[in-house]
């Protein structure tokens, strides 16, 4: 879905209505457009992103983690890394930021409706999948079996812990979480996420895999899935690159012939497999 053409270079004022620190470096902000009409009219798909603008500093591309229709606020989970995200981390409820978006192609909702869904996420980069999981949970009858595999380096890195606990109790849903390094009382697995893939049973003919996380994880996971006869075209992944314009003009997000901002960020694996894992792309 492409919104009407003028959203690409028009920013709108929003107010931070909810601010939740998650870890020392990760926080979640819930935004409301100050113009009620814009707030009501704003539409996005799971997997799409916004450009968030911090006054006087600049913009940063951030995935939207809300459910497209069930949430009152537009949530963004942000890790403090660079100039803009550091500035955003210092904001509080009631502060204003600008929003431009949504941009990009989200998860392929029409292709995955009715399918079993295998979600594989690694590290802190799971935000693009969270919107998708919310979407499935709120429309559980439209999908088959749901398998959520999440891996983190250290058990302390797991964000959305309460979500995972809640999702694990949902019908026809399997949640497997692992950490390379664990603390005591860690209720889930230890080891690499690839080990989790070996633990699950899926039907390669009815399953669609949606991934987000680091690219080496994509490569390792894809290999295991294909060994188990999941067709390449049943695998989708969310890519990340530097984004400034968000509409394929500034050139930073190029991944070979693809512009991650407008051709992605969600790609079907066969469309990007030639360059995936190649240094420099």
């Amino acid at each position: 879905m492409v919104m009407k053409n003028d959203h690409q270079d028009i920013l709108h004022d929003t107010i931070i209505v909810d601010y939740q620190p998650i870890t020392d470096t990760i926080f979640n902000i819930g935004l409301q457009f100050t113009d009620e009409n814009i707030h009501r009219a704003y539409q996005f798909l799971p997997g799409q992103f916004n450009m968030l603008y911090l006054f006087g500093i600049g913009e940063v591309a951030i995935s939207i983690v809300s459910d497209p229709t069930h949430d009152d606020l537009y949530y963004h989970t942000i890790r403090r890394v660079g100039r803009v995200t550091t500035g955003l981390s210092q904001l509080k409820k009631g502060d204003h930021i600008g929003v431009r978006g949504p941009f990009g192609r989200g998860w392929p909702l029409s292709q995955i409706s009715g399918k079993d869904i295998l979600i594989i996420t690694g590290g802190l980069g799971c935000a693009p999948s969270v919107s998708m999981i919310h979407y499935i949970m709120n429309r559980r009858e439209q999908f088959g079996k749901l398998m959520i595999l999440q891996g983190v380096k250290h058990s302390n890195d797991l964000i959305y812990q309460s979500y995972y606990e809640k999702w694990a109790t949902a019908p026809n849903t399997e949640v497997l979480v692992t950490a390379d390094k664990t603390t005591t009382n860690w209720p889930w697995y230890s080891g690499l996420i690839t080990e989790l893939i070996k633990k699950i049973n899926f039907d390669p003919e009815t399953t669609i895999c949606l991934m987000c996380g680091p690219e080496p994880m994509f490569l390792a996971a894809v290999q295991l899935l294909i060994e188990r006869n999941l067709p390449e075209q049943s695998i989708y992944m969310s890519m990340e690159r530097n984004m400034q314009c968000a509409i394929g003009h500034c050139g930073h997000c190029q991944f070979g012939g693809k512009f991650v901002c407008k051709d992605g960020p969600i790609f079907c694996y066969p469309d990007i497999k030639d360059l995936l894992g190649k240094k420099g792309f």
Partner: protein, 384 residues
């Protein structure tokens, strides 16, 4: 103007040198700001043109890999040179421009305002075929629906293009192999070919035809038309450089199938990662966005400026750099320009102008790099 549908007027006209100013006057009266070639800092640059006297009469550019100098050739011609470091690109895709401004009130509320550019339409006088080809390629980057760049579009829609076919090629020109010159084929309002005492003129648009009528040009004689053809043939036959495989998709496949070729290490050892090639390239379109807050912190301005894939910041993503060495940056530049450009825009990104060769401080030759990567394949086929 030159973006409009194809126009069919096969006539040849003659514009004597003495009537160049009549042409410029007409365009000025039509409200155009005329931009044309002139000498600045010992190079041919395109700037505001008021009078034909400003043109680079009697000068020829001597170009080699990493070298550019102007020499007098004592010929009474305004276009006996090939090109300079820039032509059209900076006119339509500004090196730096403001995109939007934002004001913050006492409650923190932000009000955004897009910057619109009030400007005269531009008439580009004397642009080369390679540069017109470059403009048509940039059109694909900036004007493809649904993502149209309004800043580029505002200038592009009103531009009037007076192309000049080449009668001379520099040592670094290779537009014959890229099929983008030396004669302009599309994207112009009128096209000139310089012969003795003036130009043979052909028409490419209704606006161009109106100009011809307004300044009352006579038809060119058969001799003039033959002289025109000799000039163009001369420029074509004197080119010594060529892009291997005629700049086709074969180059695309060659490069993408040789991403681990040892030549990438070889060129990386020479490349300074300075970005000169991307600055002078008529098709490179990367830009980065910058923010300039006012001292009072009430307002801020958001701009973009040309960026280059040779910078560290170009591939920065949350704390790391995807292309952290010169090898991967050169590979990005070359594979984008000649290979993945096909995937994006159904064309090569190279127009054979040779600027990246001339203005490279260490004289890296794009055609030679492709040839080096192609070499084993060529040897294989020769031995079969």
């Amino acid at each position: 103007m030159s973006m409009k549908m194809e126009f069919n007027n096969q006539e040849y006209y003659f514009l004597p040198h003495v009537k160049i100013n009549a042409l410029l006057d007409y365009l000025h009266h039509q409200g155009f700001s005329c931009i044309g070639p002139q000498i600045k800092q010992d190079a041919i640059v395109y700037e505001e043109l008021h009078d034909s006297e400003q043109l680079p009469w009697g000068l020829r550019d001597y170009q080699m890999p990493g070298q550019y100098r102007l020499e007098e050739n004592n010929v009474k011609r305004a276009f006996s040179w090939a090109n300079g470091p820039q032509a059209i690109k900076p006119q339509l895709f500004k090196p730096k421009e403001s995109l939007w401004r934002v004001a913050r009130d006492s409650h923190g509320k932000l009000t955004f305002k897009n910057v619109t550019h009030e400007m005269k339409p531009i008439a580009l006088f004397g642009v080369r075929s390679c540069d017109v080809a470059g403009m048509l390629i940039q059109d694909k980057a900036f004007l493809t629906e649904p993502f149209v760049d309004k800043h580029y579009q505002a200038r592009r829609e009103n531009v009037f293009v007076i192309a000049v076919n080449c009668g001379y090629s520099s040592n670094n020109c290779f537009c014959v192999s890229t099929n983008t010159g030396p004669q302009v084929k599309a994207g112009y309002d009128i096209a000139l070919t310089e012969i003795d005492d003036g130009f043979v003129v052909t028409v490419g648009s209704a606006a161009g035809e109106a100009l011809i009528n307004k300044i009352s040009l006579k038809h060119a004689t058969d001799e003039m038309q033959q002289a025109m053809q000799r000039e163009i043939n001369n420029a074509a036959t004197m080119q010594s450089k060529a892009m291997p495989f005629d700049n086709t998709r074969v180059v695309r496949d060659l490069l993408m199938n040789n991403l681990d070729h040892p030549q990438w290490d070889d060129v990386a050892a020479r490349c300074l990662s300075c970005g000169n090639c991307t600055s002078v390239c008529p098709t490179c379109f990367c830009s980065s966005e910058t923010e300039t807050p006012a001292l009072d912190r009430i307002e801020s301005e958001h701009s973009r400026e040309w960026d280059s894939c040779f910078t560290e910041g170009h591939s920065y993503i949350h704390g790391k750099v995807i292309r952290d060495d010169t090898k991967s940056r050169y590979k990005q530049w070359l594979t984008h320009k000649l290979a993945t450009w096909w995937d994006q825009f159904d064309t090569s990104g190279c127009v054979g102008c040779g600027r990246c060769v001339t203005w490279c401080p260490v004289g890296i030759d794009i055609t030679a790099e492709v040839a080096a990567i192609a070499k084993p394949a060529v040897d294989d086929s020769a031995s079969e």
